[in-house]
Amino acid sequence: MAEPRLRHGAEARLRRSRGRDPLGLRRVMSDRLLPALVAAMALLAALAIAGARGAADLTSRWEGGAATAMTVQLPSAAATDGRLTRALATLAAMPEVAEARAMDQARLRALLRPWLGEAPAVPLPTIIELRLEELPRDPAALADRIATAVPGGAVEAHGVWVARLVALARSLQAVALAALLLVAGIATAVVAVAVRAGIAARREAITILHDLGATDTDIAGRFAARAALLVGLGGLAGTLVAAPVLAGFADLAAPLVGGQPGVDLLALPWGKLPWLELALLPCLAAGLGWLTAQATVRRWLRRLP
């Protein structure tokens, strides 16, 4: 008796589910192709988001760290003959300079230890570290002005290459955001095509519902709910696939941002991933699918009386 009862229960559930899907959208908007396409696009979107986020982090780090640093090298005697004091005052008065500070000799020795050993035989220069108000547009020109203002000083302008790196990182950010918009546009087109195919396949059923008194909101809502579900699932799948890939990239990039590469899967820098954006991705994809389906169906329904 158990089996017939089970079979009867399954049939009843099937009938109930069909009753809630009078347009038969589960068949015409299948749970295979559309989610798979959206998953691929969600993967690309996740990579773009992470790329933009990573580029932003690098830009911020370079701008806030080395990008604003220049050094002025004076002879070792400058520390005692008053040239260091005058140079610091001159540099502090320059509008581009946020802070001018003499590097501690002990720190300098520590930095040079790998090359000069514990007791350097040569006198160490006096180094002034500069933090700039902002990244100079022309680091070479600024270096020339500082060299003129501080006679005998040799200026090292890290900003030249850092500025180029920052520009590159910003370009990567822009490209990543453009890629994100492109992916969103393609996803919208894919959903619209899928919905139109669904409309074409269920045109007769739609007109029957319309004639029976269904509103545009009701009919469009059925398509939109189906599209949102499929696109949301696709977005979730793509995001889940993207997470370990992004963790791998984050691991490779760890030394660039002051971290250490992981030794196994669990040691990957999972915490560095843009989890909020990744969590929002399936929701945004579902919203995009819902809106696209609503617009597509409502536009088609306008031709009915």
């Binding site: 049939e11 009938r15 069909r18 009078p22 038969g24 045109r203 031709r303």
Partner: protein, 235 residues
């Protein structure tokens, strides 16, 4: 209840639904489908809609069914003037109108009970009430044993009775039937007509378009006779 006053209908491209409707009939694309058609159908009446093919019967039914708006004149259905009613108000009005088509227009992927339940679900009725109403309708149409079957597994007569059950499950004030017996044998046709008459006895206004003279003779009632888009006889 239903009033046509000087109604003209012309299927110009701009006036015809772009995508067409599943209920389109041959001849619907002719330039002028109706000319100066006027009549009034009192509430609770039963009328035959007669005439040769292409006379405009389907156009009259589609106007009553709110699938078209007149090109000229005025159509009033259940107190609403079609020339003035807003599109967004039409669905609520359509739920008060039941329609039976010659080709049944059942949803092939839904079992009979879900086809019959469709108007109730569209209207947002509670599932418990839907089950009770559908069961009652299926008993009325003699289809209790076919509730879980798909339409393709039913005979033509059974499909038409299922379509009729769907058309009346909302207790419509106006019931329209377009050649409801066109695909049925005599026995099934009489059975469907008996159900339509029963709805009339319960107070529903019924309009039946048909070519079947034998049925008209079997169920005498006032008739609207159309020829070439004009009403030539009413009574």
């Amino acid at each position: 209840m239903v009033r046509f006053a000087g109604v003209g209908l012309r299927y110009a491209n701009a006036a015809r639904p772009v995508g067409g409707l599943a209920g389109d009939r041959p001849g619907a694309g002719e330039p002028a489908a109706l000319h100066d058609v006027s009549f009034t159908l009192p509430q609770g009446s039963f009328h035959w809609l007669l005439g040769p093919s292409g006379a405009g019967k389907s156009s009259v039914l589609r106007l009553m069914q709110l699938s078209l708006r007149p090109t000229s004149g005025s159509v009033e259905v259940l107190g609403a003037d079609l020339s003035r009613i807003r599109r967004r108000d039409l669905p609520a009005l359509r739920r008060r109108i039941g329609t039976v088509w010659q080709d049944f227009r059942l949803l092939p992927h839904l079992p009979v009970q879900d086809n019959v339940a469709l108007p109730l679900r569209i209207a947002g009725r509670a599932e418990g009430q839907i089950r009770a109403d559908v069961a009652e309708m299926l008993r009325w149409a003699g289809l209790e044993s076919k509730a879980g079957q798909l339409p393709a597994t039913l005979s033509g007569g059974e499909q038409q009775r299922a379509a009729l059950a769907r058309a009346v499950v909302m207790r419509p004030a106006l019931l329209l039937a377009d050649e409801p017996t066109g695909n049925l044998d005599t026995v099934q046709a009489r059975r469907v007509l008996a159900l339509l008459h029963e709805m009339h006895r319960l107070g529903t206004t019924v309009v039946v378009a048909t070519h079947a003279e034998a049925l008209v003779e079997a169920y005498p009632a006032p008739a609207l006779w159309l020829e070439r888009g004009r009403l030539v006889s009413h009574g």
